[in-house]
Amino acid sequence: MKKYLAKRILFSIFSLLVVVMTVMLLVYTLINRNVIFQQDDTWNKKASNERTIYEYNKYQDYGYLVYENYSNYLRKQYQEKLGDDYQNDPQFKEDLKVIQDPATFQENEYVKGFLKEYAAKGYTVKYLKPDTSKSGKVRKGGQAFLIAVHEKNPVTRLWSYAANFFNIDTTNKVKDETLTDRYVRFEKDPYSGLFAIVGSGTLHKYLLYFDGRFPFIHQNFIKINLGTSYTRYRNQEITTVINTPTGDMITKRQQYPNMLGTDEYADTAIDFHSLTYNYGEVSPVEAKQFPDKYTVYSFLRSGFTMIENSFVIGIIATIIAYLLGLPLGITMARHKDGIIDKLGNAYIIFIMAVPSLAYIFMFSALGTSLFGLPYKFANAQVKILAYILPVISLALPSIGGLMKWMRRYMIDQMNSDYVKFARAEGLSEKEIFNIHISRNAFIYLVHGIPGSILGCLTGAIITERVYGVPGVGNLLTEAINQHDNGIIVAMTVFYTTLSIISIILGDLLLAKYDPRISLNADKGGGR
């Protein structure tokens, strides 16, 4: 059994890698990159070399390549040498201008340094010649540029993605020589009143802490990193995006770390458990508030996170579907060709045949006009009411599906020998149907249970769109519309992992529910 599982999991990881690789190949190499400029006004206004530079900047933003401009390089060099006043240095201005002359620019010391450094890094250096008209005048935006470009290749892209997938926080995480005191230890947590594991030299200050949010205990030792969003949520990590509450900020009377132990309080929405290391300069204000360089924070927010929103709606709908669908299917089979069966069949045909979009809109129109239920999630006065319509919209099709299969399998089982035997023994019809047949018919449905539970995490595309639920269901389609390759890859990994796990769990549950089924190829009946 263990061997079988290990084999399954290994194969799953392999197929996950193949899937991610394929999607990366598709989105990064096969799509025409220029589509991102289709509705870009800035791009339209720019011309000549400036436009090319703008394109490279954008390609870098969208994660296609890494790129460095000579002028940036020069600024950094001078800043190191002269400090912040380098802008006015006459030598700097001259060095900046040198590339405008295609004949002599390569003799400059800094240009040589630039060429050498980036050639060693494996970049391709490109020189954009000054774009001049026949009279020798430089056209608008036609000044020369010297840039180094590095296209990411698919294998290294996949490798770096896989290598950064698990983010493990250790005391050596922060690369800063000035930080000498590195530790991980238990401390009393002034914000929760309980204890916390606090680190120094780690990326997060609080590695394990308690607070009032579900699931009440949180850790930062291992974080899954699905990648970074490029456009939709500018440069935010996708794991953070889907795990950040979507409600308003909560301002509380709290103490900054430096106020602890005094009577001073401040009204702030900062979540002090979220502090991470600040690689940049600590501002004077921050230096007064924080004792160390852990000054990067996020805010306390109310409401559910995106993933919680999707999951809550999904799981309630799934539970309702199983509680209603299975008994209805059993009743339909028991009164086959009766009035209940006919009505049920009509419902099933309606749900199966009509596009889901159509009946979701139908229910939303009915719910809002007849019962006055809130239509859009955002403008609901009572938040609980806003969940009713999405839950109904999700539950109705699942009920139809479960009814259909339960009825089918019940009818298939109805002529089995054990049913005849039970009748011969004098068991009541109710007992035969509700206990004996339904148990055997349910075997076929057990496999789908983990899938329907885990599937709640991926959200529902149409329902969330129609009701404006801030959930994960829409992330993928939004990302596609905004060419956000980071989210596309992240969602592929997320969806694929969930579907693989559900299939494996489904098999295990099936083997558990029906002992006759053996997953091991050596044992049991299979060939």
Binding site: V354, P355, F361, Y375, L476, T477, I500
Partner: protein
């Protein structure tokens, strides 16, 4: 009088001896059975099927013929902003005509909803038929080989396990995103892996029949593989094929509606039901006449196709021919 005539007949004229015929005695008299005739007999025995077919023909004819009489151009009044989003009465007043064109009002570009519904359902039906045909042909041929050959089975299972792990919506969205959203690119996106599910389902069915006793006996007697597939397996699976078709055909119409709704559907230049629904959905409470007609037509087409398919599948099952 009559009784007298009857009684007066000689008994010898009524009966006569015949010789035993060895050739005749070998023949078994059974009613003539033709598979397809029985299928249609069973199918048309249900009166609802005739009504359904009538509706189906009506929709097909109006979808394919009416746009020829009433050419639909969504951009006809695009420069005339006051003609946008008018309800039926206002549209008739605005255009000062009581023609059928404005029976359902006007849409977001001043287009006629009534004409649009027919032109759009033509595209949607064509798409469904083309996609279903391609997927069914590839899926059934490969599924039959997949189920019959054990070597091919091992190879295909690996591919299936990898591809089936990718959510279908994700794959289609990414493909449409890459190759564009014209009619044929869209068909490609729907069919590039769409056949795999059909093939997998069909493979399991073929495997079940493959190992039945009569099939085994046939093979032992040295029947060639193709003949076994053709004569032993495929006839048994006709009803399975029709059942797949019954769910496949309407599913592409729903799929197109869904994909258009999430923004990865057919491009704006191809009028489709999904496109119309998508354009109208944001304001469906304010301009209900733009939203409900395409929804109703899409639902009607899918329900009719589904019911017809299911009933035909029932009729193709030889067990119902008794």
């Amino acid at each position: 009088m009559n009784e007298n005539v009857n009684t007066s007949v000689n008994q010898d004229d009524l009966f006569h001896f015949i010789d035993t015929d060895t050739i005749q005695s070998e023949k078994i008299i059974a009613p003539r059975y033709s598979y397809w005739r029985s299928v249609f007999r069973v199918f048309f025995r249900k009166k609802t099927n005739i009504v359904l077919i009538a509706f189906f023909l009506l929709i097909i004819l109006s979808a394919y013929l009416l746009p020829m009489i009433w050419p639909y151009d969504p951009m006809e009044f695009v420069t005339n902003a006051p003609s946008f989003n008018l309800n039926p009465t206002k549209a008739m007043q605005f255009h000062n005509s009581h023609s059928l064109k404005w029976l359902l009002g006007s849409g977001p570009t001043g287009n006629s909803i009534f004409y649009g519904v027919f032109a759009s359902s033509r595209i949607s039906i064509t798409l469904a038929v083309v996609c279903a045909t391609i997927n069914m042909i590839i899926g059934i041929i490969l599924g039959a080989i997949w189920g019959y050959s054990k070597k091919f089975d091992a190879f295909m299972l690996v591919i299936y396990n990898i591809v089936a792990n990718v959510p279908y919506i994700l794959l289609i969205s990414v493909l449409v995103y890459i190759i564009g959203s014209g009619f044929w690119p869209f068909v490609f996106a729907l069919t590039v892996t769409g056949w795999l599910g059909i093939a997998y389902f069909f493979r399991t069915q073929v495997m079940i029949i493959r190992d039945r006793e009569y099939s085994l006996a046939s093979r032992c007697l040295g029947t060639p593989v193709l003949r076994v597939i053709n004569k032993n397996i495929l006839p048994f699976l006709t009803s399975v094929i029709v059942t797949i078709l019954a769910t496949e055909l309407p599913s592409y119409i729903s799929m197109e509606v869904f994909l258009s709704f999430i923004g990865v559907g057919l491009s704006a230049s191809v009028p489709s039901l999904g496109r119309m629904i998508q354009q109208a959905q944001s304001a469906f409470l304010i301009y209900p006449w733009e939203f409900w007609p395409p929804v109703a037509v899409a639902s009607a087409i899918t329900i009719i196709l589904y019911l017809l398919g299911q009933n035909l599948a029932d009729a193709t099952d030889p067990r119902t021919h008794m």
